[in-house]
Each structure stands twice: as structure tokens, then as C-alpha cells.
Symmetry: C2
DNA sequence: CCTTCGGTTGGGAACGTTCCCATTCTCTGC
DNA sequence: GCAGAGAATGGGAACGTTCCCAACCGAAGG
């Protein structure tokens, strides 16, 4: 029981009294079928509970109706960084609607990246979504060279050639900076992400822009970099406090790092926001759960996920079309920490 | 460029001066090949950068080397509930090591569940992992009937027939209860998850056991149920405070609900832990970020993910083997909230 | 010297689809 | 009334692999 022989397209054809091809046409919605034949085929399909074998179909069509979503685990763990979960949700929403499968690939180290390349070469997926790309990441180049449709969440540089969607990191950083200035803060530090990522550089540049607008010269002592982790945010905050004990505000390029920074501030007896105002980035639930609740730059992460999925489906459907670059707006959500 | 014709097994055979079958044997590690032939084949593979087409292979072997991980999104969103991310990590670790693909399926409503059933019937996966099952969930039964290897994280009931791994929810609930009693609390409430889930019932029973051990009769007024969301936890807390204003402790069956409960307690001016002690479940980072930091029952979620992946691979390899049931231990992590 | 056996080898068939093409049938227009 | 167009149909081939089985080879044994 259970594992009985499943019907094939031949079984259906025999039952409906038509040829294989006609059944195939009905399944694929071809108009070149008489109503009569179509009804017979549909009835047979229903009777036999026939479901086409997608593997066999993939062999001849060279399509798998499946795309890979690649998430690097090395620097920031899925789950610890809510960004990834939200991207997954957005991607999944769009893919489900078009009946496309989602292959999730967590890449921890370069060994696993090789496996990924194999998997892609095996033609198990029609396209690839990459998240959190570094400037010198070899993967986008490899995929491009393989001729496999590829779309990025984020970009390697402002001159990114591959299709991608990202949020307005520059504008978001600027908003954060302006907000702190408007709160009367004058010694505004920042905890940046890794500088080999465009997302980090853009947010940092936004912060600089805001200071310069206000006539403040960005000071090297007020810039620390971390790796988007809580631990990193904590260490960066400690280093900032050593170098510039008089700082009265800090803009962290992610909520997770902001949370780490707040832990360190509390440990050193600085009150938030009285002594030091804090602004994060992402507006994840960490911002809501944090105490005091965290002012944060909201980016439409789920929409980024949905957008890259759409871009990828477009590119799979028409590989010749020009690459698309989409920037989504950010919004500052003010809470208790600033 | 890029999309040049990829080599097939025939190309390799011609290049190595052997037959198709010999190449296939080399690829699949068969011992029935002379060293000489093997070397020639391996050289040809390297020269041509040949990678086997897994779709074609799947057609004849009836194996896809890919399993589905099904996560219901309806009650608790991926990302808002760290549990799922951790399970994904554990699953991914085991699967990557065995070169098995991971199909991620987020199911939002019953319509999407039908699609899932189709996808499974299409034989796109060798097995299915189900997370967060409800007692009357039709999916496990359908999959069992289809004869598809299926493993659960959690169980529908203590008599679960399918293979599964879950943590010791009963013991965890008991530990939480005992801990609050040891802190001298006497009016101990609980916020349970949905009662149609075994995980909820077990944690609730553990709480009851602990109270009864201490000679306290569990009071209906001190039991509220919610849906594992922050909002639900908040509402449940409100309802508990109305029904039993004198409560001095609460055990929530998840950190997310505990966070919601703490928000409501703060809103009503109750101090944590002075007026009301709070204990959560999961020991997610929410517990660390919360203020005050949250005492929580830690369960090895990532290990649960790894375990169900292993059980599934076992079952795929030997579908006839008896089903396995694995229970993993929990541990109470005491922090500031109790 | 012939048989047998184990180790190698490769061709044919099959897996379940889709696509190409040839065939049949029906209508339209002159 | 007949050619031609177009719709509907189905058989053959192909997609790239694995599995079955027959065939070959050299050595061992009678």
C-alpha cells in the first residue's frame, strides 16, 4: 500500500482514448486541443489522480522550476540576524505564487561554496538569489560566467552589473545622522559593518553626509567597524568609548550591533538615551524588544525578498533582457533610545 | 558565451575511449572498473569539466537527493519565532554534509498546503520534514499514505507513529514550575500555547506537575492560552491579570509570548521580577535581549533540526526500518526575570 | 586442450516527459 | 468540385542518466 505504481502520461492517454501528445497539450494549456479531447483527458487525470513527473519534464525542458537562495552563514547566523528570515519570507511569497520551488542553501565556508557551485552546475536550479554579498565575493562572477540567471539582494558596488534590489542605505544612514543632530547631539559616533560590503560603506557615507551637512567634520575616532554581530557591536562600542569618552550618540549599521552596543553602554554605566542616544538599522523586532526600545532605520526587507524573486523570475523567462537595479526607500522609526 | 553546450556522459566516454557505462560506474564509485579505465575517465571528466546532470539521474533512480522542510507560517512567522531559524540551521548542517538539497516550503494557508501536496506527488523530494504539527493536521497522514518518508519535529500526540524528535517539554515545564516555587512564588500562572499542539499540552502538564508536587492545586484562573505570538502573550497576560490580580509569577510556553507578557506587565506597572517573576521557553536571543533578561527553558533546537534530518535520511535509505522517537533534554537558564 | 569462472566492458532499453513532424480531417473560396 | 489552408492528432525521437544482460578476456582446473 501507499507506494503503488503511479500513473504516467501514457496511462492517462490510454484511459482517455487519446495520444500522449494530446495529454501533454492539455496539461500545458495548449489551445490546439478540441474541447471534447480536453474533457476526456481531464476526466482521466482526475480519475487516476495523475500528477506529472516534474523530473522527467525537467529533463526535456531543461527547466526545474526551482531557484536557489544562498545565504552566507559565516559572518551572521540565520536567526540571529532577522534580516535573512524576512528576505526568505518575501522570496517565498513570490515563488509560491508562481509554483516555483525554493532551494535554501546555507553556506558556512568555502568548502560548502564549492558544493554550491556543483549543485548549480548540475542544473538543479534555474537561477540563484544571493544575499549579503561582499565586494570580492567570487560567487556572483562564477554564476555570471556559468550563464545562470542571478539576482542579488544588495550589491557588490554602486556599479553592480547584475540585477539587484537593495534599500536606500545612503539615505537611511543620512536620516539616522540628521535625526541625532536634530536631537542636539554633537559627538556622534558610528558602528559600521564590514567595509568590504557596499551596504556598510553606503550607511557610513550617509552618516558622514549628515554630519557634513551640519558643518561637523567626521572624526576618525568616532568610526568603528564590526561584523554585524552583537558581540562585534559590543566590542566596537567599547573601543569607541576608549577613543572618544565624550561621545553622546551612536549610529549602528544594524539593530543587532546596536543591541550589543547598548549592552556595553549599560555595563559602563552610561544611560540610554540620556547620556548616549542610539540608533540602529533594520527595524527588526530586536528594536522593539530592546530596552529602551530602539530607534531604527526601517528597510522593507520582506519587499526586497519579493523583489529579487520577481527579478529572478523575469530574468529566467527572458535571459536577454537588460539587468534591473531597484532601490527601495527606508524610513526612520523613532523610539525611546534617542 | 557562458551558455555553451555542456558535456554529457557520452562526451566523456568518447574522450576517455570507454563506454557510457564505464563512466557511469566511475562516477558512482563502482569497484568493477580497472584502474586504467578509471584514470582515463577521471582525466576526461576533469578536462571537460563534466558534471553529471542530476535531473536525468533522478529520472531513472527515482531519487532526487532533496528533501522538503515544511514550516507553517500561519500561527507564528518565520523570523519572529527564532525556533524555526535554528531548526533550519540544524537541518542544513546535516543535509549539506550528505549533499542533499533542502527545499524550503513556507505554508501560509490550506491553499498552499494543496500545492505542497502536489509538489510532493510530483516526486520532487525524497522525503519531508514537518515542523510545528497540530494534533489534527492532515498533512502527516497524507504523506504517510503517499508512502513518502516523513519525520516530525515535535509530535501530534504522545502516541505519535511517525519518526520524530522533540525536546522534553514535560520536563522543561516542570523545571520552570519548580524554579518559580523555589523562588517562593505561590500564585504561579502560565501562558500556554494552542492546546491542539502536543508541545503546549506537555509544557502545561509539566507546570501542573510541579505545582502538585509542591501541594498547590493548579487553578483554572491561572491558565491562559495564546498562539505563540508576542501579541497573544500580551493579551493572555492581560486576561490573567484581570482574573487573578494577585499572581506573582508566570511561566510562558515561549520566549516570544513571555516578551509580550512582560510588555503588558510593564504597562500595568508591575515590576519584573519584584512583583511578578517571568520564565520563558526556548532560550532564544529574545531572552538575552529582553529587559530584564529572561529566565528561560533552553531546548537544543539546532540539535532537533540535525536529528530530524538524520532520521529522515535513515528512513529514505531504509524505508522498512522501524520508526524512531527521540527526546532531547532541556535545561533551565536562570536570568534576571525570576 | 577444453571448460569454467570471476573480473571488465559496453550496447540496448528504460525512466516520463516534450517537441518535431507527418498525417488526417474539415472547412473555405474560387 | 477541387485545391489549399488550417485545426487537431499521434507516433517517433530526444533529453542524460542508470540498470540489465550479454560478451569478452585471461587464468585456473580437469
Amino acid at each position: 500500500m501507499g507506494a503503488q505504481q503511479r500513473p504516467t502520461i501514457k496511462t492517462v492517454a490510454a484511459r482517455a482514448g487519446v495520444g500522449r501528445t494530446t495529454v501533454s497539450r492539455v496539461i500545458n494549456g495548449s489551445p490546439l486541443v478540441s474541447d471534447e479531447a480536453r474533457d476526456a483527458v481531464l476526466a482521466a487525470i482526475a480519475e487516476l489522480k495523475y500528477v506529472p513527473n516534474s523530473v522527467a519534464r525537467g529533463l526535456v525542458t531543461r527547466r526545474t522550476n526551482s531557484v536557489a537562495l544562498v545565504i552566507p552563514e559565516s559572518e551572521s547566523r540565520l536567526g540571529a540576524e532577522p534580516y535573512f528570515s524576512a528576505v526568505i519570507r518575501g522570496v517565498s511569497t513570490v515563488l509560491t505564487a508562481t509554483r516555483t520551488q525554493l532551494q535554501l542553501v546555507l553556506v558556512r565556508d568555502s568548502g560548502e561554496r564549492d558544493q554550491l557551485t556543483d549543485c548549480v552546475a548540475e542544473r538543479r536550479v534555474d537561477g540563484v538569489l544571493l544575499v549579503s554579498v561582499h565586494e570580492d565575493d567570487p560567487l556572483p562572477g562564477i554564476l555570471e560566467h556559468l550563464g545562470l540567471p542571478t539576482v542579488l539582494a544588495g550589491r557588490r558596488s554602486p556599479a553592480e552589473s547584475l540585477s539587484h534590489a537593495c534599500s536606500d542605505n545612503l539615505g537611511g544612514g543620512r536620516e539616522a545622522g540628521r535625526h541625532l543632530i536634530s536631537r542636539g547631539r554633537t559627538a556622534i559616533a558610528t558602528i559600521s559593518g564590514p567595509l568590504d560590503m557596499d551596504v556598510s560603506r553606503s550607511r557610513l557615507q550617509g552618516w558622514k553626509d549628515a554630519l557634513e551637512e551640519a558643518g561637523i567634520e567626521p572624526d576618525e575616532r568616532l568610526i568603528a567597524t564590526a561584523d554585524f554581530t552583537e558581540e562585534g557591536g559590543m566590542l566596537a562600542m567599547r573601543s569607541l568609548l576608549e577613543r572618544a569618552p565624550d561621545l553622546d550618540a551612536v549610529f549602528a549599521a544594524s539593530d543587532v550591533m546596536a543591541a550589543g552596543a547598548m549592552l556595553e553602554l549599560r555595563r559602563q554605566g552610561r544611560r540610554v538615551p540620556e547620556d548616549v542616544a542610539v540608533v540602529g538599522f533594520d527595524d527588526s523586532y530586536i528594536a522593539r524588544y530592546a530596552y529602551p526600545s530602539l530607534t531604527s532605520v526601517s528597510q522593507p526587507v520582506e519587499e526586497i525578498g519579493a523583489t529579487i524573486a520577481r527579478l529572478l523570475l523575469d530574468e529566467i523567462a527572458d535571459p536577454g533582457a537588460p539587468r534591473q537595479h531597484i532601490t527601495l526607500p527606508t524610513e526612520l522609526i523613532v523610539r525611546d533610545s534617542s
